[in-house]
């Protein structure tokens, strides 16, 4: 087991190295960047240096005058010591921006994830136990609709219904206009109130996948031989489903849930942008659109790390939960 984990970890490091290299090369190849627009602005000022001179000076300041490979290794060297540089867009250390925004995303994602599990798994199991019934069809169609719903369209519908027509929630942002005047508990409630619609969006959009996954796995388990044996023994249907089948369905579910835990830190890029929630997703969207190389580099590498950790957790959990799986 330990050997397996170490091997996977080493492999992950190699993969991460190449991913970071590709991302860095891509970012550096972009023909227009933040530096150029700054240089253009500065050279427009009366009595200023020419554009080329500004470009040279700014490139040197931002460490962009080196070649791609040399630049990458200098970035890597700094990154390994935890120094990701200063964000150009936010003019703050990258890690500071990250630390300021990531927890909001994590809380939002976490709450949505809990709701998702609470709703999707029971529905998936009920649908599987009553295959081809009306419940099954309803659940399947809802799950498919959830997968097929474009986030931005659903968010617009929610806004129209709950913000415009009913006036229950606000259209954008995390805090209301009178946020500063509220007590600390009031501020908490204000934020919670603003997070309702984004969380609903996240839950509805992501619920379909888990629901289908649960249903498929439960169906597979229900068709297994040991279930037939249990039924043949005369075990009550309730016991067959919730003791024999459900426990076995949990194996892939635990794996997939464990694997998606790191993803909670990556933020919901689209949803946060749609609702202007200042989490890591919206923050990095602005940075990426603004051509902020240090922050984008950090964010992309961070997501790659999260994906790798997620895969690793899923693999390990699979081996831990299911005694039949032997690691070779």
């Amino acid at each position: 087991m330990r050997k397996f984990i170490i091997k996977r970890l080493l492999l992950s490091v190699v993969i991460l190295f190449f991913v970071a290299l590709i991302i860095y090369a891509l970012m550096r190849c972009l023909p227009t960047s933040y530096i150029e627009s700054i240089a253009r602005q500065k050279s427009m000022q009366p009595g200023s240096k020419t554009f080329d001179e500004w470009m040279q000076q700014l490139s040197a300041t931002y460490g962009m005058d080196k070649g791609i490979i040399a630049g990458f290794f200098s970035w890597l060297g700094k990154a390994l010591t935890g120094n990701f540089g200063d964000s150009w867009f936010y003019t703050e250390p990258v890690l500071q921006v990250f630390n300021r925004t990531v927890w909001l995303s994590f809380i939002m994602g976490g709450i949505a994830f809990i709701f998702e599990i609470i709703i999707a798994i029971p529905l998936g199991i009920i649908a599987a136990t009553k295959q081809y019934s009306k419940t099954d069809y309803t659940v399947s169609v809802i799950a498919l609709a959830g997968i097929s719903l474009p986030t931005f369209f659903f968010a617009a519908l929610l806004k129209l219904l709950f913000s415009v027509k009913l006036g229950w929630f606000e259209l954008f942002g995390l805090v209301g206009r009178n946020h500063q005047q509220l007590s600390s508990f009031g501020q908490f409630l204000d934020k919670a109130h603003h997070l309702v619609l984004p969380i609903v969006t996240l839950v509805v959009i992501s619920i379909g996948g888990l629901m289908r996954y649960t249903r498929t796995n439960m169906l597979e388990v229900l068709n297994a031989d040991y279930i037939r044996t249990a039924r043949a023994k005369g075990v009550s249907e309730h016991k067959v489903i919730y003791k024999h089948a459900f426990r076995n369905t949990l194996i892939p579910l635990v794996t997939i849930i464990g694997g998606s835990l790191p993803g909670l830190f990556s933020g919901a890029l689209i949803t946060e942008t749609l609702y202007s929630i200042p989490g890591i997703g919206y923050t990095s969207y602005n940075a990426m659109v603004g051509g902020d190389i240090p922050f984008s580099m950090f964010y992309l590498t961070f997501i790659a790390v999260l994906t790798l950790i997620g895969n690793l957790i899923a693999d390990i959990l699979y081996a831990v939960v299911d005694p039949r799986v032997r690691i070779s």
Partner: protein
């Protein structure tokens, strides 16, 4: 299932019973033979939900590809409407203040003018200033003359204004006489042995012609380079007298304009606005018989935009999926068939690509293309290439997995024994066995590609104007005003998007069930 298929089966059974009489028991013709493909098709067509999905898809393709041909409008055809733009043309003020005119060779100091008003207000016949007493005589309504004790007229206070037709200064006496005649509603008056006539409109004329006119209103042009003609002013006065607030006037060039009067109570001023008809883009027009779904922000027909948008969205979906499948099948096939270090290398590449976060990368590239202002058509092609190139790793993994298990089977040993070429073995014998899974994953992938594309277009980083895509049509909803007021701008596009993706997923599901022989029905 419902009763209908049973009925059909009964009919078929009775038919086959008749046939049985003609064929002997072991006759081959008694056995209905179905190829595996036909079996799959049969299973698929029996799945009612999948059929609904298929019909939706066919309808959507017809809508997008044929609809664009049928529609009377083209993709980027602009529509105009005539709108009346009101420009401030002139202003009219009712003169409520006294104006003063000094008699020739006399002095009429402003203090005396003020004293005169006091006297008028208090109904006194005279006023006094600096030890001199002035006589104030009421000559008519709002017309007073001021004279010294010896009867010398020094000036008048009046409210009706004499507008001279010439720029020459009119003699004081003439003005005074004219005003006196006008306020007392006389038709004629005599000044220096000449008879002048004055009509109801206040036009003053003598035998030689018009001199000018008298009116209580003070009219000024507000637009530069505009001379207000006498006829215009007369029409205006008439309108003001009638108390109506609009009139038409044909100017010297024979062009008729609508004029609207606006009264500002605070400044007691009438503003006359000239309405000129101008052609503007017919933006956000409500659904009508001409435009079934209204028009969009640019004044283009919404329904036609939706058709062309569907074309773009579907085409992008197909091309992206084709690119991804092409790369995925080749790399996955090689990897699965050869195994060993080739497999290891390709799988590590797949791992790397799997780890690259695609959405942020596409956003960054989209923003970069924005900065470079790439041509919208070229941009669409880049978008397809990027999406396709980022989409293959999952497919490669799937193909490899399938091939790994397939290559151990007997038929592969047989091809080896027959000496079939390697490329032929992979692409003729292995890949066809993967095709069912490929079709399923492509169908499902199409849906998600369309969502990705539309999300990008929605964010303004995908397909750009003048091309339509369902995503960039909904883009308008970012404007809260559109969200609140113009449902027809974004709901139809969103609904089409949802239905299409749903249909792709349903059909994909149906295909998987149909391909899976283990499925019991």
């Amino acid at each position: 299932m419902s009763k209908k298929p049973e009925k059909n089966n009964k009919l078929k059974n009775s038919a086959s019973e008749k046939n049985e009489q003609q064929y002997s028991l072991n006759d081959d013709r008694r056995v209905k033979v179905l190829s595996p493909g036909a079996l799959v098709a049969k299973r698929f067509f029996r799945n009612r939900m999948a059929m609904v999905g298929l019909i939706i898809l066919i309808a959507m393709f017809a809508f997008s590809f044929i609809g664009g041909l049928i529609s009377p409008y083209s993709e980027a055809q602009l529509f105009y409407r005539t709108d009346i733009l009101e420009k401030e043309y002139a202003s009219a003020i009712v003169n409520t203040e006294f104006r003063y005119l000094t008699a020739d060779g006399q002095e009429f100091p402003s203090v005396v003018q003020a004293k005169m008003i006091l006297a008028v207000n208090q109904n006194l016949p005279e006023c006094e200033y600096d030890g001199i007493t002035y006589t104030v005589t009421k000559e008519g309504e709002d017309l007073y003359s001021v004279s010294l004790a010896d009867g010398t007229l020094i000036g008048i206070g009046y409210k009706d204004i004499f507008n001279s037709n010439t720029s020459d200064k009119l003699p004081f006496g003439l003005v005074f006489e004219a005003l006196k005649a006008y306020t007392n509603e006389l038709d004629t008056f005599i000044y220096e042995d000449v008879e002048y006539s004055i009509d109801i409109d206040g036009t003053v004329a003598n035998a030689e012609g018009e001199l000018g006119y008298i009116s209580r209103y003070f009219v000024q042009a507000l637009m530069p380079d505009v001379f207000l003609s006498r006829e215009f002013k007369e029409d205006l006065y008439e309108t003001l007298e009638n108390g109506s607030d609009e009139f038409k006037f044909t100017d010297a060039d024979g062009v008729e304009y609508d004029y609207t009067l606006y009264y500002n109570a605070a400044s007691k001023k009438y503003t006359i606005k000239q309405g000129t008809e101008s052609r503007v883009y017919d933006t956000y027009a409500s659904p009508s018989s001409k435009h079934w779904l209204g028009t969009d922000r640019n004044g283009m027909d919404m329904l036609t935009r939706l058709m062309y948008g569907g074309r773009v969205s579907l085409l992008i979906g197909f091309i992206v999926e084709f690119i991804a499948t092409f790369i995925g099948v080749i790399l996955g096939g090689i990897s699965g068939y050869f195994g060993g270090w080739v497999d290891n290398l390709i799988m590590r590449i797949v791992d790397i690509f799997y780890c690259i976060p695609s959405m942020p990368i596409i956003i960054i590239l989209g923003a970069a293309m924005d900065a470079m202002s790439v041509d919208p058509k070229l941009r669409m092609i880049y978008l397809m290439l990027i999406l396709g190139f980022l989409g293959w790793p999952g497919l490669a993994r799937m193909v490899r997995g399938q091939i790994l298990s397939l290559r151990e089977q007997e038929f592969m040993t047989a091809t080896e024994a027959c000496g079939v070429r390697v490329s032929r073995r992979i692409y003729k014998h292995l890949i066809p066995n993967v095709i069912p899974q490929l079709i399923v994953s492509c169908t499902m992938g199409l849906g998600s590609t369309i969502i990705t594309e539309s999300t990008l277009s929605f964010l303004g980083l995908g397909v750009r104007f003048p091309f339509a895509s369902w995503g960039n049509i909904i883009n308008d909803v970012k404007d809260t005003f559109v969200l609140m007021n113009y449902w027809f701008i974004w709901i139809p596009a969103g609904a089409l998007l949802l239905i299409t993706v749903l249909a792709f997923n349903i059909v994909g599901d149906g295909l998987r069930d149909a391909f899976d022989p283990k499925m019991k029905r």
